[in-house]
Amino acid sequence: MVKIPSSELTPEPVYLSRRAFLGGAGALSAAALLAACGTERFVSGTTTAGPGATAGLTDELGDPANSLDQITNYNNYYEFTTDKEGVARLAKGFTTSPWEVSVGGLVAQPRTFGFEDLLALEQEERIYRLRCVEAWSMVIPWLGFPLSRLLALVEPRPEAKFVRFETVYRPEEMPGQRDRHYPWPYVEGLRLDEAMHDLAIVATGIYGHALTPQNGAPLRLVVPWKYGFKSIKAIVKIDLVETMPVSLWMALAPMEYGFYANVNPDVTHPRWSQASERRIGTRARRPTLPFNGYAEQVAPLYAGMDLRQHY
């Protein structure tokens, strides 16, 4: 478990936004984060799988959150390995501090944020379903902040239509990145209105603790209505752009991976049927919900679009 040293939690006074909603958020959120770390919610990494281990946390549909053990030992993170159980071991000791994220492109105020600057934003818990394109899913209590808040700080220009995210490229620490089969670094993208949607967050923690390296430390995207691969990990670069970014998966297999990648039981993937899914920790398959159960909130983003074509 990565612990954030208290020095890293000290609010950075560098942050001088005029925006009202950020006033004083730094001190408040740091306190909130520290408080969260001390709650009973934290589940020991040695706890075995099972909904009982999650102290009664559920998503809004009433399904229990997965245990930290499940969340931190079954990861798709090809920068380390394609073996989901091997990621935790290989990612151990991955350097997540110091960490900077440059946010630029078509913005009025391009900026490089230190990770501490981002921790100074108010952190909140979001219990989301994560649906992998491989047809398994989990319920994860993230800690983070809406991506829209970060984007507002850099003031996107009117020409900006998409947001492009990039993962750190560090082959000396990420053995999977030495595999030339993939066009590293990992790239993902969102349409600007998707990025500004309140459900899209930048996650910095799970169960009230800092993210573990295998889950994308120190910060990652979480877009719960899209397949998991859209939720890019270990972000170092965010650019606002005019044209649709080409993600790593789109570049590698354009017939299989579209830009939108919204969870959709009616659009089948060449490899995995998306009609149903296996919730980690339970036995029976369950039907996959349109937009992963977030249709009410996000379906309007795609009004008038043929989602079979824009998969």
């Binding site: 030992n73 989901k84 490899r271 049927s273 296996r278 036995r283 398959r285």
Partner: protein
């Protein structure tokens, strides 16, 4: 040597059961069960097909006696693979299963491969061999398309095609060694 085929072929199953009992499988144990039985079945199928070319290469006659047990152990794993998929994963939900078959060519290829292997397993006994007479041999050539379908099944489901392509290449080599061209010396 030939009798070692039994314990060796049962190693993957033993490991799987042992890890399951000790709680060493991943948090997605159904997936582990499906992937590992499937791969064991495919590897054993390729080993079955390797016996004849290897015998020709080395002259060791006992290799031919391995074909039957290897083929049957392959069928054992393939059957466990199918049970894990249809019963444990899909709970025999016929609507979901038929949807998967219709939607996914890899499921179709896997099912086709299984249905070609099934008559081979059923006619593997000496008695069946006698009863079928001269039809036994052509019937058992179904192992070639079955293996090809099994390798395609793997290729079509894998996100990274590298390993399935290696399997396909090995299979291609094993089948090519059976072409008359290689036998002319």
């Amino acid at each position: 040597m030939p009798s070692a085929v039994h314990p060796l072929s049962l190693i993957p199953l033993g490991l799987l059961l042992g890890e399951a009992a000790l709680g060493l499988l991943s948090v997605n144990p159904i997936q582990d069960l499906i992937l590992r039985t499937g791969k064991a079945g495919l590897v054993l199928l390729l080993l079955t097909l390797a016996c004849t070319p290897l015998k020709r290469l080395t002259g060791w006659k006992w290799l031919l006696a391995l074909r039957k047990p290897l083929g049957l152990y392959s069928f054992l794993y393939v059957s466990l693979h199918l049970v894990a998929f249809a019963v444990i994963d899909f709970g025999l939900d016929l609507a979901l299963i038929s949807q998967a078959i219709a939607e996914k060519r890899y499921v179709l290829a896997g099912m086709a491969s299984f249905s070609l292997l099934l008559p081979l397993a059923l006619t593997s006994t000496k008695a069946a061999q006698r009863r079928l007479g001269r039809w036994w041999r052509p019937l058992h050539r179904l192992i070639y398309p079955a293996a090809l379908l099994a390798a395609l099944h793997y290729l079509w489901l894998a996100k990274v095609p590298r390993e399935p392509l290696i399997f396909l290449a090995i299979l291609g080599g094993l089948l090519a060694l059976r072409l008359p061209w290689w036998r002319i010396r």
